[in-house]
């Protein structure tokens, strides 16, 4: 994709942008789920993010974007192992994609015409070390969802079918988007996303006008619009790269850990994934802000994103998860 809409030119939707930047700083946070109305810039943000990310070094021609020659899977049959610079992969998983396309399968054509047992890598291979984007993730077929869960957890794609036995690394950040009015997501999958954000159409008329203006300018002349925002995008990329380096040195005091735990207990979120994600996200935010340690302010800004999808669903409770999180944040963090 050439000439995506510049990430920094997106008006508003601060929470979504923050969540995406945090996963870019620390992929270990584990993905972003964006739920909201149509035409609110969900896919625009993902595609803009691709242009924003620093390039990676990968072995030329490697189907799984390996960083080192010894990581290249032997089924790839690569002769030389020179490194090239390529953009961070952002792979689309279209709704209705078949299992074969996703995990890879026997290369039928080669099997039938040349009698060779060759593996044709799927989308998961291409997404390794990058992003996997699923639009309308809530409409995805159940068997694909199960498969993605398994791979996202293990970081490895195992193919055992049609006489093939192949495994390759598949570490990617899952970005899903969808419209909650069209269906829910299973809690098992919800929990697997590190952060979740809710986006709505801006209701402020000036904001709406600004969105339309920028998009219109972009559509009229992509090159010059992209050029005008390039400096902003590059500055953001610089901050992300700097934050990645600073990440290891960010301290989290005992008190902050206690805050995380108290917040999660008060909200009754399942498991410990909530605390871990909350801490990682807060740490990434601290690094992004150039701070040396995690503070309550950081926790406060990421609490909603990190926790709102982990609450036990009570169908008879009228208040939304966002308000419940906000209430507890108020109580616990003061």
């Amino acid at each position: 994709m050439t000439n995506a809409f510049p990430f920094s030119a997106i008006v508003g939707q601060e929470e979504m942008k923050q969540a995406m930047i945090l996963t870019a700083i620390d992929p270990g946070i584990g993905g972003v789920l964006v739920f909201g109305d149509r035409g609110t810039g969900k896919s625009t943000a993902v595609r803009g993010l691709a242009a924003l990310l620093p390039p990676i070094m990968a072995v030329a021609g490697c189907p799984v974007n390996s960083a080192r020659a010894e990581d290249v899977p032997d089924w790839a049959n690569l002769k030389d192992s020179g490194l090239i610079e390529k953009p961070t992969p952002v792979i689309d998983l279209p709704l209705g994609a078949t299992e074969d396309r996703v995990v890879g399968a026997l290369d039928i054509e080669r099997a039938l015409t040349q009698g060779e047992k060759a593996f044709e890598p799927g989308l998961l291979a291409r997404a390794n070390r990058g992003y996997l984007y699923i639009d309308e993730v809530n409409l995805l077929e159940d068997h694909l969802v199960d498969l993605l869960l398994d791979v996202a957890q293990s970081g490895e794609n195992v193919v055992e079918r049609e006489g093939l036995s192949i495994r390759h690394a598949a570490r990617f950040v899952l970005v899903g988007s969808g419209n909650p009015e069209e269906g829910e997501l299973r809690p098992q999958l919800l929990d697997r996303f590190g952060l979740s954000v809710e986006v709505t159409s801006p209701t402020d008329i000036d904001v709406r006008i600004e969105v339309v203006k920028r998009r219109d300018a972009f559509d009229r002349d992509r090159a010059s619009f992209g050029g005008a925002w390039r400096a902003d995008d590059m500055a953001l990329r610089g901050r992300i790269v700097a934050a990645r380096e600073a990440l290891a040195g960010i301290e989290a005091s005992e008190n902050v850990l206690r805050d995380c735990a108290e917040l999660c207990v008060a909200l009754g979120s399942d498991g410990l994934r909530g605390e871990l994600t909350l801490l990682r996200a807060a740490r990434a935010l601290a690094a992004f802000d150039g701070a040396t340690s995690v503070t309550r302010d950081h926790l406060r800004s990421v609490a909603a994103s990190a926790l709102r999808h982990r609450l036990r669903r009570d169908p008879l409770d009228e208040a939304g998860s966002t308000t419940r999180v906000a209430r507890q944040v108020e109580e616990v963090l003061g």
């Binding site: 149509r38 609110t40 279209p94 054509e109 639009d135 009015e181 339309v212 169908p315």
Partner: protein
């Protein structure tokens, strides 16, 4: 002015705009049944997109046709890999008939292709008969022009003529058309006041305004062009009737469930005071285009939104992707089916000696297209539980509340069970669909927020509504079942007359109709004392009868769950 004439004039204008810049506009969503009027429109369309490579798709088109794939016949014949080119690989005008049947998978692919913006555009021909049979939301949002030509008389639709010379001139002018800054603000504001949430709509409107300006030979977008844009793009998407300026301060009563606050007159209004007048003109144009039955259609549209995303997921009982494996069948491998390699080899094996002799090539394995076997799986289709709730009389409110609770409890487990839940309430002289089949808890909460109650008991109308919904659900591949919640004294007949005897007769009739269609269900008697008539009704329906006085939401959901548990 004749309203139909106006619609046809707009269709004509829409085609001309579309002809100028198909890719920029994204496309046209035409809602009309197949017939002479649509044929005339299509004739006009083909004239308009001459040389733009119009391609017809069909709703079940496979991935290899869309994106290109391996030409298996040629590959096997030559022993070398040969590929076919996909439809989406070159700029073209895609024509999608029976667009209301588009599967979510195809809709997603087409939407992604349109998003790439490399010269593709889509004309979706929606032949939906029911309000909730409609184009998938992902596509509807991405095409600029929404037209509704249903029920247009042929006499009001004279053949369309396109002047290629004028179109070519306008096309040359289009890139030079400029847009005053105020136009963007006006369009955005009008869209907002019409309750158009998506931000793609104002962008489409600007593109249409530019095309309209080019058509009239102007190099700057002017007020009439903006009016065209509002009529073609914004008015059909309206979700609320814009308040007349005098009442602007008041909360718009048209749509109480939209959480948008009334627009305060902000200071940008002061600075752009001279522009305030054209905006009123634009709104006036939009108001003229709003169909008189907007509110009804909004309800239908909401139902459609709920249904659109889910149309067809799990529709087939015999799938080729998942479920229990079944014997392989011969066929051509498309995008979705998987080749059963072993079965294919087995089919080819007996012919090897003959084929080796015939071809003179003794080393190669000879496989012909006719040998290919595809995998087939069987899956269980989604259930749709339709609650038919008696909202009459004094107990209505509590009964509805418990039914609502039961729906939400069932839905909270729906992700695991692939259930859809719907709710029909009957009272007064008819039945009303409060919740079309949905899996979304969010939507349920929004739609079941306030439930009306009281009045007579038109039991037959409720059952009739359930029957219609069952048939619709079946056509989407779901397995519907009905849960009737009542205290059992039908006193309003199907035609609305308050006669106890006729009412009971009609109810029995509808119950038999449900039974004849083989719809499973349960009748739950929520009256304080069991009503003997209901037991008979249950027998007519061929369903179990359960007396549950003062049942609460949890009891209800358990009872329904237990009664409708499919065998095996």
């Amino acid at each position: 002015m004749n309203g139909n004439d106006q619609r046809w004039t707009n269709a004509n204008l829409a085609l001309a705009c579309f002809a100028l810049d198909p890719a920029g506009l994204g496309g046209i969503w035409l809602r009309a049944r197949s017939g002479p009027v649509r044929d005339r429109f299509m004739d006009g369309l083909y004239l308009a997109v001459q040389g733009r490579n119009p391609r017809r798709l069909h709703p079940n088109i496979g991935d290899d046709a869309l994106f290109g794939g391996v030409d298996l016949a040629a590959t096997l014949a030559s022993g070398k890999l040969s590929r076919t080119e996909g439809i989406l690989s070159q700029p073209s005008v895609l024509i999608l008939p029976m667009a209301e049947r588009t599967t979510p998978g195809l809709a997603a692919r087409l939407a992604a292709a349109l998003d790439r913006q490399d010269g593709l555009s889509l004309v979706a021909l929606d032949e939906g008969a029911e309000p909730d049979e409609t184009l998938a939301g992902a596509l509807a949002d991405r095409v600029a022009i929404h037209l509704d030509l249903s029920d247009l008389a042929l006499g009001d639709a004279p053949p369309l003529a396109m002047d290629p010379g004028a179109l070519a001139e306008a096309r040359a002018l289009l890139p030079r058309v400029t847009l005053p800054d105020t136009a963007i603000a006006e369009i955005a504001e009008v869209a907002h006041r019409l309750g158009v949430r998506s931000l793609r709509a104002p962008l489409h409107a600007l593109a249409v305004a530019r095309a309209a300006a080019a058509l009239s030979g102007e190099s700057e977008v002017d007020e009439p062009d903006l009016i065209v844009a509002v009529e073609l793009v914004l008015a059909p998407r309206a979700t609320q009737i814009p308040a007349p300026p005098a009442e602007e301060e008041e909360e718009d009563p048209a749509e109480p469930d939209t959480p948008e606050p009334p627009e305060p007159p902000d200071d940008s209004d002061e600075s752009t005071q001279p522009e305030a007048i054209p905006q009123e003109i634009l709104l006036e144009a939009a108001r003229a285009m709003l169909p008189p039955d907007l509110l009804d259609r909004l309800e239908a549209g909401k139902a459609a939104r709920a249904a659109a995303g889910s149309a067809g997921t799990g529709a087939r009982k015999k799938g080729n992707r998942r479920g229990r494996p079944m014997p392989s069948r011969p066929g051509h491998p498309g995008g979705e089916a998987r080749v059963d390699l072993v079965a294919t080899l087995r089919a080819a094996a007996p012919w090897q000696p003959i084929r080796r002799q015939a071809s003179g090539d003794a080393d190669r394995l000879h496989i012909r297209v006719s040998d290919i076997r595809l995998r087939q799986f069987e899956e269980r289709s989604d259930r749709a539980i339709i609650f038919v709730v008696d909202a009459s009389g004094s107990a209505a409110l509590s009964r509805l509340a418990e039914a609502k609770g039961a729906v939400e409890l069932l839905l909270s487990e729906a992700y695991a069970r692939r259930d859809y839940v719907a709710l029909i309430a009957f009272r007064g002289d008819g039945a009303e669909v409060l919740l079309p089949p949905t899996r979304s808890l969010v939507q349920t909460k929004r739609r079941l927020g306030s439930l009306p109650g009281g009045g007579g008991t038109p039991l037959a109308a409720g059952l009739k509504g359930a029957l219609e919904m069952c048939l619709l659900a079946r056509s989407k591949g779901m397995t519907p079942s009905v849960a009737l919640l009542t205290d059992g004294r039908a006193n309003v007949a199907l035609d609305g007359t308050p006669s106890r005897a006729r009412a009971a007769e009609d109810a029995a009739l509808m119950a038999r109709a449900l039974r004849a269609r083989g719809v499973p269900g349960i009748v739950i008697d929520m009256g304080n004392r069991p009503a003997p008539g209901l037991n008979d009704l249950a027998r007519e329906m061929g369903t179990p009868y359960l007396a549950l006085p003062r049942a609460d939401a949890r009891m209800l959901s358990r009872a329904v769950e237990g009664a409708l548990e499919p065998a095996g």
